[in-house]
Symmetry: none
Subunit: 402 residues, 2 copies
Amino acid sequence: MPFDYIPPLFSSNERKIILLVMDGLGGLPLQAGGATELEAAHTPNMDRLAKEGTLGQTIPIRPGITPGSGPAHLALFGFDPIQYEIGRGVLEAFGIGLQVNKGEVAARGNFCTRDDRGNIVDRRAGRIPTDEARPVIEKLKKIQIPGIVTEVEVVKEYRFALILRGEGLDPEIFDTDPQKTGVPPLPAKARVPAAERTAQLVNQWVQAAHEAIRDEPKANGLTLRGFSTDPNLPNFLDSYDLRAACVAVYPMYRGVSRLVGMDVIDFSGDQPADEFTAVKANWDRYNFFFVHIKKTDSMGEDGNFAGKVKVIESVDQALPDLLALHPDVLIITGDHSTPCLLRSHSWHPVPFLLWAPETARPDDQTQFGERYCARGGFGTISALDTIPLAIAHAQRLVKYGA
Amino acid sequence: MPFDYIPPLFSSNERKIILLVMDGLGGLPLQAGGATELEAAHTPNMDRLAKEGTLGQTIPIRPGITPGSGPAHLALFGFDPIQYEIGRGVLEAFGIGLQVNKGEVAARGNFCTRDDRGNIVDRRAGRIPTDEARPVIEKLKKIQIPGIVTEVEVVKEYRFALILRGEGLDPEIFDTDPQKTGVPPLPAKARVPAAERTAQLVNQWVQAAHEAIRDEPKANGLTLRGFSTDPNLPNFLDSYDLRAACVAVYPMYRGVSRLVGMDVIDFSGDQPADEFTAVKANWDRYNFFFVHIKKTDSMGEDGNFAGKVKVIESVDQALPDLLALHPDVLIITGDHSTPCLLRSHSWHPVPFLLWAPETARPDDQTQFGERYCARGGFGTISALDTIPLAIAHAQRLVKYGA
């Protein structure tokens, strides 16, 4: 349980919460003193909510720490990523829509180029294009190891995901990537005795794989990293008494949501308006909706300032559809910052807006933007506080102690 | 010790601290964007202190958690209520001015109505008025159990407090309230072997009690909850090197203060001015004064906005009496929020004002109110930081490390 003191305080009611996450929302101005992406965007709806609600800024993990997408979302959901960890193998599988269940082991695979003696000469197989990797993956798919079922899928370029399914598997296995060239891939080695059989099975698979791809010009070898399984996270219902739905386009976020026990909603389209329509279609079935917008982050990674502004504006334009559902609590925030200036995730605090007509305390801030959020009524808080604040404002907790 | 690193830094001096707590001070506007109770109040003295001092807002327990009065005060005194707990039985006894010492066991009692077969038909005995409960309590007072002394007092309506005094008592006993009707009260059962004798004594008392009140029309049964004893909290002198006095009208706050080793001052009157006179009368004997104003909270619970404003204004009017004593540090804050709008305690941050003529850092805030506090120089802090900041500004701590 992320907050042991919360479940004894549960008090059910009919109120509903929407957590709208624009991935990588936080930004930086291109010129010193200028406007950030969010500040530059024309967002009349969000600005009205900012006026009526309470602003703040969140620290995603710890001050100065730039989060990956998995940890950032765990934090938003209240699971401290320093304490709860999702393995890289599982995250990679999630990223392409594969499921990793309890007892299954996932690893991230990298194609590499090996010389005649089997030593690695290029740890990324010349970064072969995804289309070139696909036929190599087809060869790997044909491998059969007695006692387990394997699933292999291309991720991007030289990267792929491997999942092992069967009885008695254990993910406590060291990476086979030696992290340098001039040596062969390492054999899979168990960290604990219980994982020894799994290590043997992995080695059998790797041997068969190397045999199958030996004549490939570039991708004639592979290494495996981040062996991991379902981290067995506490679920949303137990932790917060919320029947939670995930509305997200990208597989990674759907996967992480599934891990914490959310129902993942299927819908068509990939625009904010499509996602909001999916919320509407499921409005009666849940009392918590996690809605994830990916493209703010993609534009940030591309360094496309105008593009990120445009995505934010498209969310703002569609927002009346969400508001028409009359949520009792609406939080608009990001999972981390992705300033176009840096073309990458960053450690900067994340804008946070909580709108709750009954209970939000006014803070005299008039616009949704980083500099307003920094002066907002919540101050600077941890992203871990997001869900506790949401359920408090939904008045779903009784008081602590007499 | 709540802060292990503080006692080695003690440095004595003659400076004096006043912690003025207006219970449930934090509020909400009645209309979106309007003024809170504190902002609406005309408080020229507090506003001057706000200008000269430093503002902030405190999180009483954890973000989103609405505190009860006991936990909220523990937090103000620096004892994390998630770690340190005062049992409900002890709190209930405190609320009516009873003392619970080490080795004694207190429980909260509820009268209930039982049918012919002894099953509960009304868990609150028809919420009988306090005046009707009093003669029933008189019957309970006459019960004698060999080996222990019992004290019973009415609290309000169907609620009463029971204290057991004697050798070898242990509070680790389950509630006897079955939490439903149609069944008899549960027998007292020990959680641990050491409490078995106590459970037997409780059962003897309950049997005698049921016998004594069997002919009552409504209150012919009872249940007991929250068995607890003095939680053996670290005291103020050891924790902070402060000779502390409590000036409070309501028994609950006097009880909690006694638990942390404060001297509880007797005085007459129940107005802020009376409390400040009590501080003056004891000014030379202590270097720390906890002054508690209850009626801000009562007005909040009643939903009486104008009434809460008036209480705050009455405190402001009396404030010159406190200032005339020339405290070196004056903190004005609440233990939690009790917005009139919600008619209950809430999780919202609490306004915090620290005035220290020598050491407060200016923050350009000009008024004591929630939105000013949210932008104040302390930012958003934990209520646990209150006393450490007070003794720091009293310059009673040397530096940590060389």
